[in-house]
Symmetry: C2
Subunit: 327 residues, 2 copies
Amino acid sequence: MGEFDLIARYFTRQPVRAVLGVGDDCALLQPRQGTQLAISSDMLVEGRHFFADVDARKLGHKALAVNLSDLAACGAKPLALTLALALPRIDESWLAGFSAGLWALADTHGCELVGGDTTQGPLTICITVFGEVEVIKGQGQALRRSGARAGDDLYVSGTLGDARLALEGMQHPGAWPDDLLEQARLRLEQPEPRVALGLALRGIASAAIDISDGLLGDLTHVLKASGCGATVHAADVAPLLAAQSHPQWRPLELARPVLDYVLAGGDDYELAFTAAPSQRNAVKAAAALACTPVTRIGRMDAEPGLRLLDAQGQRLANSYASFDHFA
Amino acid sequence: MGEFDLIARYFTRQPVRAVLGVGDDCALLQPRQGTQLAISSDMLVEGRHFFADVDARKLGHKALAVNLSDLAACGAKPLALTLALALPRIDESWLAGFSAGLWALADTHGCELVGGDTTQGPLTICITVFGEVEVIKGQGQALRRSGARAGDDLYVSGTLGDARLALEGMQHPGAWPDDLLEQARLRLEQPEPRVALGLALRGIASAAIDISDGLLGDLTHVLKASGCGATVHAADVAPLLAAQSHPQWRPLELARPVLDYVLAGGDDYELAFTAAPSQRNAVKAAAALACTPVTRIGRMDAEPGLRLLDAQGQRLANSYASFDHFA
């Protein structure tokens, strides 16, 4: 099987909304009148973002999920994607699995594969996603990192730290009980992008970001873009580790390294967002609409910097930084 | 220097037309009312698409050029790009060169860098470009592969084969004179996408494709999409090797392997296009407007298949196939 058969067999379908899909020099999209197009691109490299032996279907899911998570953070409705793929060789069973995982998630979110590139090389996946953002009275409705204001509440969706716990557990066999690790691996390998929540928060949240590099690190991007500070209550964040539902796990609740995973683990793909206190009921309603749990974990301050407090209101040292691929 | 400094220093500028550029979860574009968005994505891998020691500035140029060439083939006006980059390490001198080459070509075509991704990994460059296509009376004006009709003239822009000649010359030192190789290397390392020609051909050409994998191979994609055949006059194509302007070179004009380079060399980034015979003057005018030489090399036939004829009208064997990364 050659490059063109590969594309035809695994990555081509008739476009539904796109004007032109896979198979020409360019794909063609016709955005609805008066909308903006949100665009995000993520590259996943074997050995860096995923293990060489990861299940192909899960990888297809995750490669798209991390991109859809960026659309979610902007409150954009997924429309389309392009896929550029470097493969060491043609492995039909891998391609069948990878494409099945990708299509399944794409179909869930009504996101069409419209184009891309295939080449030989070290396994690398680069997806670019396109989403639609409405413009109301001349104002684009995208959630941005820059909209947070002092006094706003700070929220996080879902649970945090599970992906990192899984990563550590896979690298140090025996560190955690098997059933706990299995549960955490689901979060690492098959994150669910919070698209519905992002859409529901339009007009309610003042700022949003997706947590890919760790809560506290990603939060600093919001502080910088918004020109304010924040206070985070570690005791409100700590129980967010989903794996804590495991009974044997409770005693470790606030101990490091587990707290580190929750506060700065990365690969969570939850949303952190801010909203004025007057929007508390609206946030609850949005969370209910999106069937996504949301927890208030702090507030935005006029004073710059990120303050981490324990359950007694005492300041904890914050030595967490956002994950940096070159640090 | 970390990942975020790298992005800030080399890959961030204030957006001009984009609503939101680098630095948030998504970039935001607002397409002009009633236009379509043309999208193309290309991935370049070290050792596969370029040599490890290629000049970084030239690589920055080429990585964008091959993408702009896809917009050119659709007659789309460049608007924006995203850049996803896997780097083995941070090398500031490399980054300065690469970004300078990229920006220079982007500025030439009014194409804004609006987002992307940076990670550690084997050197891999994935660019996605966005261009604008007008819609007139409900008809998108994009040039497509599927519009060629039997009886149409077949044209190619510029020159062909130089890039492949350079590639062979670099791999077999001494095969060609140094000054000839130097001239051909310009075409391999710094191709000029035919954006102006693509724009000028809207409403004139019936189909178009950019020649990245070799003239005859890429032409078969047009035949397949358009459901017709073609006759190509090898004697009209052969003199298109720019390096033939070299006096010592003339005797080799039609000899293999040089003819192979011209007909099937790849990496040319010229446009092959078709137009009705009634459009001959319009094609000439478009070529003049775009300051791009254009040569008529054949015609489209109702009979399927690709026929290659010599100067005497005798059929030549056509064993050329489009470059396939996995063949």
